[in-house]
Symmetry: C2
DNA sequence: TGATTAATTAACTAAATGGTATAATATGTC
DNA sequence: GACATATTATACCATTTAGTTAATTAATCA
């Protein structure tokens, strides 16, 4: 998988609120599929699919314990997401700097 | 739009490599739709649709200059993405810390 | 063995996505 | 007004996504 494809997979996995909620749950520790499904209205197969999407993006790993499939968070791909986003940090921060100057009645380009 | 919906829109807008490339181009300054389309194989309507997706996510704003629609980057939603991702930073960093300890032959839990 | 529990697979549906080709709209120019 | 350029709108197609219900696989338990 290329870097682009990893980002594609990570971003589209993160684009669904249920999947982000699953990650939030897993940040507190591993959980079985049933435990992950419990807070949601969706059926078990639906959650199973969500987990598979997260797994394909490398965000979740699944173990095997008797008939249980304990899921664990792997936050590594989020580092790539964070690095990508950070490329633009100076832009949104610049925007705030500009707004600060406006709010403070300063000139946008100080000339003295 | 709720915070969840904003994240949904941002993450799914960012999930396509063409759209990320468009943002990268806009980071260097505004551009017309034709200019944005130039590096890609896709047809103009396809690029137009991508821009609309970015616009819906609040990542791009469009102006009006004669028959041109100059596009500009608005990185603000990326701050929300960054903040969301940062919740998990301690996890992926902990992973590296653990790996560092292993690579350096240190104990995982120092006891002296 | 038979029943129960955990999870996945299969088959299906509705809607969204990403793309195309072609037509339409709007603006500037000759 | 006629023409060229920039962009969007329409209509269409193929694929993917998100969900369902019902059936199936695995493992435990009684």
């Amino acid at each position: 998988m290329t870097g682009d494809e990893q980002l594609d997979a990570a971003f589209s996995a993160l684009a669904h609120p249920t999947r982000r909620a699953i990650l939030a749950r897993l940040a507190k520790g591993t959980a079985t599929v049933n435990e992950l499904a419990e807070p949601f209205d969706a059926t078990l197969p639906a959650i199973s699919k969500h987990i598979r999407v997260l797994e394909a993006a490398g965000l979740v790993t699944r173990g095997k314990d008797a008939q249980f499939r304990p899921c664990a968070l792997d936050a590594k791909p989020l580092e790539a997401v964070s690095n990508w986003t950070d490329q633009y940090r100076f832009i949104w921060e610049a925007r705030f700097d500009a707004m600060d100057r406006i709010l403070n009645g300063m000139k946008e380009t100080p000339d003295e």
